[in-house]
């Protein structure tokens, strides 16, 4: 793998040969202000006035500003219902619901209810299938199917028929706990991974059946999560063995194999890699987070021969493991910490400055935050879930004072 220094990137186009953008700087992502999915305004160059609101530990965590930060992270809703730790949260691809899964062996779907005055309610409870912790939940791209991976060794696939959710299939094969599941961009392939060190790929058949098309061995330890490239049938897996692996189908189309392994030597991680995600648009970079307290971004070429190149690696302010990362359409990266925090990072207009913390909730939950997930259509919304059994929805936006000052020709933070 080639190391790419910060500020340079290899432009990967999705539709053909790899296009090499010589020395092209990584464009600065857009920051969001207030509106949902609407006006994106660049906040590059905005610096913090140094004031930091102390993050309260307790019922209403306030927001603190890190150096250079300009955004506030405000709790919009707290979803209570699970009776044990919540491991994963995933938005339906059209933004119609939030799925969460828990050690209480159930999956819950949540949505704001007009009848309840806009409050978030549980719209479905998926239970009586898994006999142990449900660890991961993933929506198919069309939003019609929901996969749930469990410590009981199975992955269930649920379908909604006329508003009622039922279990359409249960795929088994892993020797022990299944930890991750993810759908390919076309929705025809489902990948699962687990403590048995393997990654399985299943193909969706007519009648919601699944056929195993590959069992991928290569990781030397527990595989924590899998994720697909947003447009290509390329799979990434991350593991307790500290590596990231790239899996691709062979040109003949018969077999899958490991195209690349990223270790610490290639700019990767020095401890368990917990989570991996892709930039949903634009350059389609990847992001990983680790027990080593860092977050790393990667440029990835498209088409055959996908190759990850280290783009940036930054200590992220977490003093404990970073358990989950999510790259939002707003251009920001969110991270969930075992230190109870939710943190948001942006890369300033000046690419050399790199990624830095732009929003923080130091005590987002009462316990470890296991997962963060950006809303697919409302670009300022972020979901988080925790060992404390709760799920929260946050709005990430410019501080009201800043927006006000800007509107009135100011632009400086009020002290």
């Amino acid at each position: 793998a080639m190391l790419s220094f910060l500020g340079r990137g290899r432009g990967g186009s999705g539709g053909g040969a790899v296009v090499e953008a010589a020395e092209a700087p990584i464009p600065s992502p857009d920051y969001l202000i207030r509106d949902h999915g609407g006006s994106d305004e660049k906040n590059s160059g905005k610096t913090s006035d140094g004031a930091a609101d102390a993050a309260a530990g307790g019922s209403s965590p306030s927001v603190s500003l890190a150096n250079g930060g300009a955004l506030e992270v405000v709790a919009v809703a707290t979803l209570a219902g699970h009776s044990d730790r919540v491991w994963c949260a995933a938005w339906e691809p059209h933004g119609r619901a939030l799925a969460t899964c828990s050690s209480d062996k159930t999956v819950r779907l949540w949505a704001p209810s007009a009848a309840a005055g806009g409050a978030w309610v549980t719209v479905a409870e998926l239970d009586s299938v898994h006999s142990r912790t449900v660890r991961s939940v993933a929506w198919s791209p069309c939003g019609r199917l929901l996969a749930t991976a469990s410590f009981d060794g199975s992955t269930a696939v649920w379908v909604s028929e006329g508003g009622e959710w039922e279990c359409a299939a249960v795929v088994e094969g892993h020797e022990n706990e299944v930890k991750g599941c993810a759908w390919s961009p076309s929705g025809t392939l489902l990948a699962t991974c687990g403590r048995d060190k393997s990654v399985w790929i299943w193909e969706l058949q007519p009648g919601n059946d699944f056929e195993c098309v590959a069992v991928l061995n290569g990781h030397t330890q527990d595989v924590k999560q899998v994720t697909w490239h947003p447009t290509e049938d390329v799979l990434l897996s991350v593991s307790y063995d500290n590596t990231i692996k790239v899996w691709e189908e062979d040109p003949g189309g018969d077999d899958w194999s490991c195209a690349q392994t990223v270790t610490a030597a290639e700019g990767g991680h020095s401890s368990t890699v917990w989570s991996v995600g892709f930039e949903p648009s634009g350059l389609r970079r990847a992001v990983t987070c680790s027990d080593d307290r860092t977050i790393a971004t990667w440029t990835a070429t498209g088409m055959q021969g996908m190759e990850l190149s280290a783009a940036a690696k930054f200590p992220c302010g977490h003093d404990r493991a970073v358990l989950s990362v999510s790259w939002g359409k707003c251009g920001l990266i969110a991270a969930a910490g075992a230190d109870n925090s939710v943190r948001v990072y942006g890369a300033a207009g000046d690419a050399a400055a790199g990624w830095h913390e732009v929003g923080t909730v130091a005590a987002a939950h009462y316990d470890d935050v296991n997962c963060v997930a950006w809303h697919p259509t409302q670009h300022d919304l972020l979901a988080s879930c925790s060992d404390d059994g709760s799920v929260k929805v946050w709005s990430v936006r410019a501080r009201v004072a800043d927006a006000h000052a800007e509107a009135h020709g100011g632009g400086r933070d009020t002290p």
């Binding site: 912790t133 410590f151 527990d222």
Partner: protein
């Protein structure tokens, strides 16, 4: 784990049980809700040690304190940042019971401490041949959670916590 006829450490050294320096009240196991009510009470190393010293060794009818597997000196508490570190010393460097001992310590503290505490459990540096591997396993929250869903393992842990051996 397979039943074993030979002990890992057939001749453990038993240390004299230390008497209490002061009468620290021993908090009994209770729910997290009750624990959180006392959330703001201060904790120190002595109190943490009180909770773990009587955990039984899996193999021998002696406590971790008596075998010098745990000692107060190896418990670090930062009450301001809610961080606790416990280092334990297996009686022999190749001890295969190390993860079970570590897990027992973790479960005991999980049951008695307020949720706000983050606990790191490691083997004392240099005390185990697979130190890095054991430490990693003991501090991977997902591995610990999955292990504790295993009724056989949980039963072994409870034996240790109840002053019994596993053998």
């Amino acid at each position: 784990m397979e039943p074993r006829t030979e002990l890992i450490n057939p001749a453990p050294v038993v240390h004299r049980r230390k008497t209490l320096a002061r009468g620290a009240a021993l908090r009994t196991s209770r729910t997290h809700a009750e624990a959180d009510e006392e959330a703001r009470d201060g904790f120190d190393a002595e109190e943490i040690f009180e909770h773990i010293k009587d955990i039984n060794d899996p193999e021998h009818p002696y406590s971790l304190e008596q075998l010098d597997v745990v000692s107060q000196a190896h418990v670090t508490v930062d009450d301001n940042t809610d961080r606790i570190k416990v280092a334990f010393t297996p009686t022999v460097p190749h001890c295969s019971m190390a993860t079970l001992i570590g897990l027992s310590i973790r479960v005991k503290l999980l049951r008695v401490l307020p949720r706000r505490f983050k606990v790191d459990i490691t083997v004392s540096p240099g005390s185990h041949s697979s130190e890095v591997a054991v430490n990693k396993q003991l501090n991977d929250k997902e591995r610990v959670a999955a292990a504790l869903e295993n009724p056989n393992l949980l039963e072994k842990v409870d034996l240790c916590l109840n002053g019994q051996t596993v053998m």
